[in-house]
């Protein structure tokens, strides 16, 4: 995890690569092309690139229209701004089941200079509650590239959540990601840390420190939040008996909720939630700073792990 690579850059490159191979890919953007790195595609394929201006509702519907005729539109803006078109996403993408790939850039609190208007801490909750929409969140630059290729092949609406951050590279080139599947990326049997996005790297760091203290944490990377890999989650609850979820999103409605919904029906175990605690995060000096100061630090994960193991002990 020494190499640091920008996820949005990796997204932009992947989009261009896929666009070279697949002429059905078209790109629609709402005046943030150079920010979310669709400009690589734009320069190479201007005829398959459409800028709708600052018109997020139109953005989504233009994508829906293109998909009706067999194109695979990648529809781009900041995740927080995409929510302006919630109704279009529900009706014209989810309900109408159009093959639109919605891409929310600058997700979570990664746009640290711009503050709460630009953060996106409810997007997973919102997207996950819309029938038919697949929700994917890559953990690093490698996984971003792989996921872009995967969702081109995936038929149906997808929400892809991309961070603005430059994050440590976790996965090598042989990393495999399958839509709908989570993966164990570190073994352990005292508890499981289930993480998405930038919190995957932090969870691995936390697991390393916990090991030095004699706690063996399993770490699961959950790049697809919907459809949810229930079997893996139930198996891990049975095996480790305690769970910490970690996400750069509100603790309401995201990964933690998905895990709770799954386990409360099938195999309840103690769960602790790492996420943004139902508040608007302020502007910061860096993304890392914000994560560290709003409950998403490596230490917060470690504390949650210790707490959940104690709760597990109390149940026995």
């Amino acid at each position: 995890m020494d190499r640091i690579i920008s996820m949005r850059h990796s997204y932009g490159e992947a989009l261009l690569d896929c666009g070279i191979k697949n002429k059905k890919i078209v790109v629609v953007v709402a005046d943030v092309s150079s920010s979310v790195k669709t400009d690589f595609f734009e320069k190479r394929f201007p005829e398959r690139f459409f800028n709708v201006g600052i018109a997020e509702q139109c953005l989504v519907n233009v994508g829906a229209g293109l998909s009706l005729e067999g194109f695979i539109p990648f529809v781009n803006t900041f995740a927080g701004l995409l929510l302006r078109s919630f109704e279009q996403i529900r009706t014209c993408v989810g309900y109408a089941e159009t093959n639109v790939k919605l891409v929310g850039g600058y997700a979570g609190i990664s746009d640290y200079k711009d503050g709460a208007t630009h953060y996106s801490i409810c997007d997973i909750a919102v997207m996950r509650s819309i029938p038919n929409i697949t929700v994917v969140v890559p953990a690093d630059a490698t996984e971003t590239k792989k996921l872009v290729c995967e969702i081109v092949k995936w038929s149906g609406p997808v929400y892809l959540r991309i961070s603005r951050a430059e994050t440590p590279v976790i996965f090598g080139d042989n990393h495999k990601v399958v839509v709908g599947k989570g993966q164990i990326i570190r073994e352990g049997d005292d508890l499981t840390i289930i993480a998405v996005g930038v919190m995957v790297g932090r969870s691995l760091l936390a697991a390393n420190i916990l090991e030095q203290e004699g706690v063996k944490a399993r770490v699961i990377n959950m790049p697809t939040i919907k459809p949810f890999d229930k079997y893996l989650i139930i198996e891990t609850a049975q095996k480790t008996g305690a769970i910490v979820t970690a996400e750069e999103h509100s603790v309401i409605g995201g990964l933690g909720s998905a895990v709770s919904e799954c386990l409360s029906q099938s195999y309840p175990v103690p769960i602790e939630f790492i996420g943004i605690k139902d508040l608007f995060v302020e502007t910061g000096t860096s993304h890392e700073y914000l994560l560290d100061h709003f409950g998403l630090s490596v230490n917060d994960i470690i504390e949650a792990a210790k707490k959940v193991i104690k709760r597990k002990g109390n149940i026995k």
Partner: protein, 295 residues
């Protein structure tokens, strides 16, 4: 700007294509039949939107019984014209037209809104043959049409995209986002038709949120504007001809209509926007419509 405004007289002369009296009479009959079908559906279901169905009957008739290139046997035929009912609440009249054109059995109209029916309250593209796009939340049609229009251009296809909007619907910001999109990309393959009946859910458009100067609005968004009497089949056909010949911008047909047209007590009454008639009202409405047809 070479905008053509067809006043109701001017359209008579000039170089307009001639449509036979026979064709026009047939399309008027079709329109009347659609009115009767839609009202019957709304009456039997005890729900629906009579006012906005009756105001667009001639428009739907002209499109579905003459103008659109469609094939009921092949709803997904690649070369078909695309039609989107952006004012999706007028679903009853669209379903009636699809059934009368043979997209599905006329008896299926009775299932509208019932459990397991292919005919949902509002149009659903995944369930009903002939429905191009799911609608019901107002405002979507023009921006979706823009996406389709761009696709048609990329695919070098000649078919056209028609949408029907309500006037109240045009209060929605997304309509104007779609308008900017269509004109930025000079999508001359789009014809938007506006059912300008000046009545919306709560009352008159000109009181709730005035649209005027409406023609100027569309002109300033760089649309070709054609203004017609939306109950004249002939003007509808000729206006559609005009928009087909525009090659550098999208077109809009502003069709002046009467909400509830053809049923005296429903005309111009916001009350009849979304209300089903009771037994007596239904009987009277049908008597009026049948009388009109025979008279």
């Amino acid at each position: 700007m070479n905008t053509i405004i067809l006043s109701f007289d001017k359209i008579e002369g000039g170089s307009m294509k001639h449509y036979s009296k026979k064709l026009i009479a047939r399309l008027n009959d079709n329109a009347n039949q659609l009115r009767i079908d839609a009202l019957r559906m709304i009456y039997e279901r005890g729900a629906g939107h009579p006012g906005g169905c009756l105001s667009c009957s001639e428009i739907i008739s002209a499109l579905y019984f003459h103008y659109l290139k469609i094939d009921p046997q092949r709803p997904h035929w690649e070369d078909r014209d695309r039609f989107i009912l952006s004012k999706g609440h007028a679903s009853a009249i669209l379903y009636a037209a699809l059934a009368r054109r043979g997209f599905f059995d006329i008896k299926e109209l009775q299932t509208w809104g019932h459990p397991n029916s292919r005919l949902q309250g509002h149009p659903d593209r995944l369930r009903t043959p002939g429905i191009e796009m799911t609608t019901g939340t107002l405002g979507q049609g023009l921006s979706i049409a823009s996406g389709i229009g761009l696709a048609a251009r990329l695919l070098q296809q000649k078919w056209r995209i028609y949408i029907l909007m309500g006037d109240g619907e045009c209060q929605s910001g997304i309509v104007w986002e779609g308008a900017m999109m269509a004109s930025k990309y000079c999508l001359s393959n789009i014809t938007a038709i506006i059912d300008y009946n000046d009545v919306q859910l709560d009352g008159f458009c000109h009181e709730i949120m005035p649209l005027e100067p409406f023609i100027k609005k569309w002109q300033s968004f760089n649309f070709e504007v054609v203004e017609i009497d939306g109950h004249s089949v002939k003007e509808i056909l000729q206006a559609l001809d005009v928009t087909k010949e525009i090659h550098d911008r999208p077109s809009v047909i502003i069709a002046h209509t009467i909400k509830g047209k053809g049923v005296s007590f429903m005309e111009n009454e916001a009350k009849w926007h979304g209300l089903a008639p009771d037994d007596e009202q239904y009987r009277q409405a049908i008597t009026e419509l049948k009388g009109e047809k025979n008279g």
